[in-house]
């Protein structure tokens, strides 16, 4: 990733719009996932994504990030800071962003982009489940992820060993991953 990151940062510093797009495509979903897990029950995750990516591009613009830095840890660091700031501010003010404060804004509809990504991923998973998984694998995935049962419960429910259930589950998930991996434009990085 190092050499790619170096090139990407150089391109970003040169103000290449496609470089910005690449960063967004690679990290947008991860930032959404991060905040969805860390700050549950909120509806404005797009604001967090906006803040993280805007801060990153601002840092590049201001020369705070150089070619010898890795992009992923840098963005993750910003995401963490935004998250801690949110909880800190939440104690004093319910708004995550200060009103009237002049801030660098990215003109992307991250919410819509993320919705479309999720739709594609969902569709691929759905197709794979319907067409490529065996009935027993569907039952196992359903018990694990829809009914949220533990391995022991699924094992006793299906009358199979924990090892068997575990192996079948991993194989099923691998098939799903293979399907998602075919969609090259989904997660670049």
């Amino acid at each position: 990733m190092t050499s790619t990151d170096n090139i990407l940062i150089t391109r970003l510093m040169a103000g290449e719009p496609r470089a910005q797009r690449e960063v967004i495509n690679t990290y947008r979903s991860r930032i959404f996932s991060y905040f969805r897990m860390r700050i549950k029950g909120e509806t404005y995750y797009e604001d967090f994504v906006q803040e993280v990516l805007a801060s990153f591009f601002e840092a590049v613009r201001k020369g705070k990030i150089t070619e010898d830095k890795f992009i992923a840890p840098f963005i993750f660091g910003i995401a963490k800071r935004v998250m801690y700031n949110f909880f800190y501010k939440q104690k004093r003010d319910s708004n995550i962003r200060k009103k009237g404060e002049e801030q660098f804004e990215l003109s992307y509809d991250f919410e819509e982009e993320e919705r479309m990504t999720n739709e594609k991923v969902n569709q691929a998973i759905q197709t794979c489940i319907d067409k490529k998984l065996r009935e027993v694998d569907k039952v196992i995935l359903k018990e694990f992820y829809i009914h949220e049962n533990e391995l022991e419960e699924v094992s006793s429910l299906l009358g199979k060993s924990k090892h068997y259930i575990s192996v079948r589950k991993e194989r099923a998930l691998k098939k799903l991953k293979n399907e998602i991996s075919k969609m090259k434009d989904i997660f670049i990085g």
Binding site: M1, T26, Y27, S29, R30, S33, Y34, R36, M37, F70, A72, P73, I75, F76, A79, K80, N118, V121, N122, I125, Q126, I129, D130, E135, K138, V139, L141, K142, F144, Y145, I146, E148, L173, L176, K177, I180, S181, F187, I188, G189
Partner: protein, 236 residues
């Protein structure tokens, strides 16, 4: 964090059971690793319940499909019953034939009942020669040549027997009925007995037994045979 470790921690991450340091390490890993983020994304979609996992047993089946197996079973039963009836019917007919086996009545040239011309060249003599040689078609041809005026119960009886031996049961019954309608004692018992045989072979058991019962109550050389036939045919 290595990818292998990451994979073992995904479910714990979604269940919120990872310690804070481990969680941070875990998150830092998926920011760096696309493969592991794909694994995480799949779990995210599955846990979000946006993915439908429809099992075969839960699929909505059109109503006719529910009836399909029922119809198939019903059709199988009907076919089995029909096959059984056909086989049973065929077996019954075979049994009827077996119990209605008879030795062709012997023509006695000295027979005095209704004698017809017995000259060696008469049609009746020719017919009887053929009959004794078991050439029943030929015998019938000769018997048909006998003029109406010379026809008597003996000729009619042997015509009936020839038809019966050629498995032309309806024609045989017609000939035997002709004798029975004459109310002539000559060949009456024989006509009754062999008509019953023909009826048995046509699987008309009730009609045959009725005739045989009448015969068994008569003072006839066929009464004992009639009784035997009744006892053989009744259980079928």
């Amino acid at each position: 964090m290595k990818c292998n470790e990451f994979l073992t921690l995904i479910d714990s991450y979604f269940k919120g059971s990872l310690p804070e340091e481990k969680q941070e390490e875990f998150e830092a890993h998926y920011f760096e690793c696309s493969g592991c983020y794909t694994d995480l994304k799949i779990r995210e979609q599955l846990y979000s319940k946006d993915v439908r996992i429809t099992l075969e047993q839960e699929k909505i089946i059109p109503i006719w499909k529910y009836w399909k197996p029922v119809l198939a079973i019903a059709a199988s039963i009907v076919i089995a019953v029909i096959a059984f009836l056909i086989i049973d019917h065929s077996n019954t007919i075979k049994k009827m034939y077996r119990i209605s086996q008879f030795n062709p009545p012997v023509y006695i040239s000295t027979e005095t009942r209704n004698p017809v011309s017995t000259s060696s060249s008469s049609p009746f003599s020719e017919a009887m020669k053929s009959y004794n040689n078991k050439e029943y078609h030929k015998a019938l041809t000769h018997l048909d040549k006998i003029p109406e005026t010379q026809t008597n119960p003996q000729v009619t009886f042997f015509k009936g027997i020839c038809y019966l031996l050629l498995d032309r049961k309806e024609s045989a019954i017609t000939e035997f009925d002709h004798i029975l309608n004459l109310m002539n004692a000559s060949y009456y018992d024989e006509a009754l007995y062999f008509k019953a045989i023909a009826l048995l072979r046509m699987n008309k058991k009730a009609e045959a037994i009725e005739l045989l019962k009448n015969l068994s109550q008569m003072f006839s050389p066929y009464s004992s045979q009639a009784k035997k036939l009744i006892s053989d045919a009744s259980p079928l």
